[in-house]
């Protein structure tokens, strides 16, 4: 089986791998819409979608009612509806950009997956190798660069619709996504300062980040980054919500004030594409968060995947170990999808000025301060400056916090 695979031409191999990843991602993106409806129903104490079912399925004894209660068939019904209903094209739109926008939404969402490692296996030499479509040295930069192109779908959709509310949505989206990109990029820098220990050749690869969190039991490098960089993790997570346009931050489509925002004029599958793209962005974003701060495919802190492989005697079975690591990674990622939905149905939407204030006046200074703190800390550790330096750093950080919280502010609106 493996021989047959490695005898295929490389281009065909790449194509198969790419399609395999998309074949997993696209349905998850679609299924998330159903999960979202179910979770919102659960949080609001109502049953949620529980009606649709092919009529013959009612004859299946236990499974039929169970799946009906779960609302699984609503997914097919919704998908069928989106594909089959009339695909209207309003007369007042800029047709080219109007049709281009949903496509542009999908491209970055599905392109960023190529550089996100989603599992690992042991090679014959006993070393851990990543399961990834393209293990680039510039990993995280590629994720940020390609996902930053996602803003064009919102801008183009808003502008091409040529009407008031979509336009406002597009303007808001462009300002918001650029604002939060800064804090997001700054918040991951401490992680990479930590990963790039002196002597290495320098790396931005996400696989190496996970490797730096795969130390043995109770060792310094076994802890996940969320434990000793909690501020980075929080800033990254909040920025991720803003970047994926999820609810406390969904300024671009706030239905209370903008009807539907950038997608007001869209219907049927064009509208559906925006949503699959949003969920795919969430999936990739959660995956990156898990890789950066939650140890990737390591099942527990201080319990690396390699140990688990040794306990289960999986050393000679790269396929099984790979599947196990993918399952662990996907499990964590799907948990974060759940967190996204949890927050969406818990936290009310911000006002637009609050979004801007949070981004520029709270998160950005926090991310910069956090970066300076970790840069100093890493320098102290590396140069072995001893306890006076640690005391000085702690005093400096405390002083900065005191100044930040007592500094007189003119506008106390937030």
């Amino acid at each position: 089986m493996i021989e047959l695979w490695s005898n295929l031409p490389p281009l065909l191999q790449m194509a198969v791998k790419g399609f395999a990843v998309i074949a997993v991602m696209f349905p998850i993106g679609g299924a998330c819409s159903l999960v979202e409806r179910k979770i919102s129903a659960w949080m609001q104490g109502r049953p949620g979608p529980n009606r649709a079912m092919p009529f013959w399925f009612a004859w299946v004894p236990v499974l039929g009612p169970f799946l009906q209660r779960l609302g699984v068939f609503h997914l097919m019904a919704d998908g069928g509806k989106m594909f089959l209903k009339e695909d209207s094209l309003p007369g007042h739109v800029n047709k080219f950009y109007f049709l281009l926008a949903p496509v542009v939404a999908m491209i970055p969402a599905l392109t960023t997956v190529t550089v996100v490692p989603f599992g690992a296996y042991l090679t014959d030499a006993g070393r851990l190798a990543p399961l990834v479509l393209a293990n680039l040295d510039v990993g995280i930069l590629a994720v940020f660069a390609v996902s930053s192109l996602g803003v064009y779908s919102l801008i183009l959709a808003g502008w091409a619709s040529n009407s008031k509310y979509p336009f406002l949505g597009g303007v808001r989206a462009s300002a918001q996504l650029i604002s939060y990109e800064l804090s997001m990029t700054l918040s991951v820098l401490p992680v990479f300062l930590w990963v790039n220990a002196p002597g290495g050749s320098g790396t931005l690869s996400l696989f190496d980040v996970v490797q730096a969190q795969s130390g043995p039991w109770l060792s310094w490098s076994g802890a996940w980054f969320i434990f000793y960089m909690p501020v980075s993790a929080i800033v990254f997570l909040v920025s991720l919500f803003a970047e994926t346009n999820r609810l406390p931050f969904d300024m671009a489509e706030g239905e209370a004030d903008l009807v539907g925002g950038f997608h007001t004029e869209y219907g049927s599958m064009k509208w559906g594409l925006f949503f699959v793209a949003e969920y795919s962005h969430m999936l990739v974003g959660s995956g990156v968060f898990v890789l950066l701060f939650l140890g990737g495919w390591n099942p527990l802190p201080w319990v690396p995947l390699a140990d688990v492989a040794a306990w289960l005697h999986l050393a000679g079975q790269p396929v099984l170990l790979g599947l196990l690591s993918i399952a662990i990674f996907l499990g964590k990622t799907l948990f974060f999808i759940f967190v996204f939905m949890w927050v969406r149905w818990t936290v009310p939407r911000f006002r637009y000025d609050q979004v801007m204030k949070l981004g520029w006046q709270k998160l950005l200074p926090l991310a910069i301060g956090n970066l300076i703190f970790y840069a100093a800390l890493i320098a102290i550790i590396q140069l072995n400056l001893g306890w006076p330096a640690y005391a000085g750093l702690a005093a400096g950080a405390a002083a900065a916090l005191v100044v930040a919280f007592t500094f007189p502010r003119k506008s106390a609106a937030f």
Binding site: Y97, L136, D137, V138, L141, A142, F144, A145, V146, S148, L149, V151, Y152, I155, L156, G158, W159, F167, G170, V171, S174, A175, L177, I178, E181, G200, S201, G202, T203, L204, K410
Partner: protein
């Protein structure tokens, strides 16, 4: 394969760069600028400079062009609303283009460029950082300060500072 990719990216870059200049609709121009940047990023990747390619995408394609579009949408320019080019502008543009062509032509015909070394290792991220923080530290700082000055200038010009009795 390699040549085909090179010519594709070159054509993409040059054609869309030309369309940036000649298209009447500001949104079209911005989108062609985006396409042109993507072409340049592709050329960088072919030169084994993936870092440059992604930084270019991140900064210019991801942020700068999005800001251009933001401004265009705020100003709400209608296609064809702007004035046709003035004669002086056209003459200057023609002269500049001719000079550029002349320069490229003379470079092509006369220049003695050293042959590219074969099998040179791709510079690591560390090598980039080392250069930025040692050899090119001053130029980077100077450029940073120039951007800061420009930003301060914009703030001073655009923000109305109200006096104490005017109320804020």
């Amino acid at each position: 394969m390699f040549h085909l990719l090179f010519y594709t990216f070159t054509f993409l870059t040059l054609a869309s760069a030309l369309l940036v200049v000649v298209s009447r609709d500001a949104v079209n121009a911005a989108m062609f600028l985006l396409l042109s940047l993507v072409g340049v990023a592709g050329l960088f990747v072919m030169l084994d400079a993936a870092l440059l390619a992604f930084v270019l995408l991140l900064v210019y394609a991801g942020a700068v062009v999005a800001l251009f579009l933001f401004i265009i949408m705020l100003l709400d320019t209608r296609p064809g609303a702007q004035k046709p080019f003035q004669k002086l502008t056209m003459a200057a543009a023609g002269l500049g283009g001719a000079l550029l062509l002349l320069g490229v032509g003379s470079l092509h015909a006369r220049a003695q460029l050293p042959a590219a070394e074969e099998g040179l290792a791709v510079p690591s991220l560390k090598a980039y950082a080392q250069q930025l923080f040692t050899t090119y530290l001053l130029p980077v700082q100077v450029v940073g300060f120039m951007l800061l000055i420009a930003m301060l200038g914009v703030i001073v010009l655009s923000k109305r500072f109200e006096t104490a009795e005017g109320g804020a």
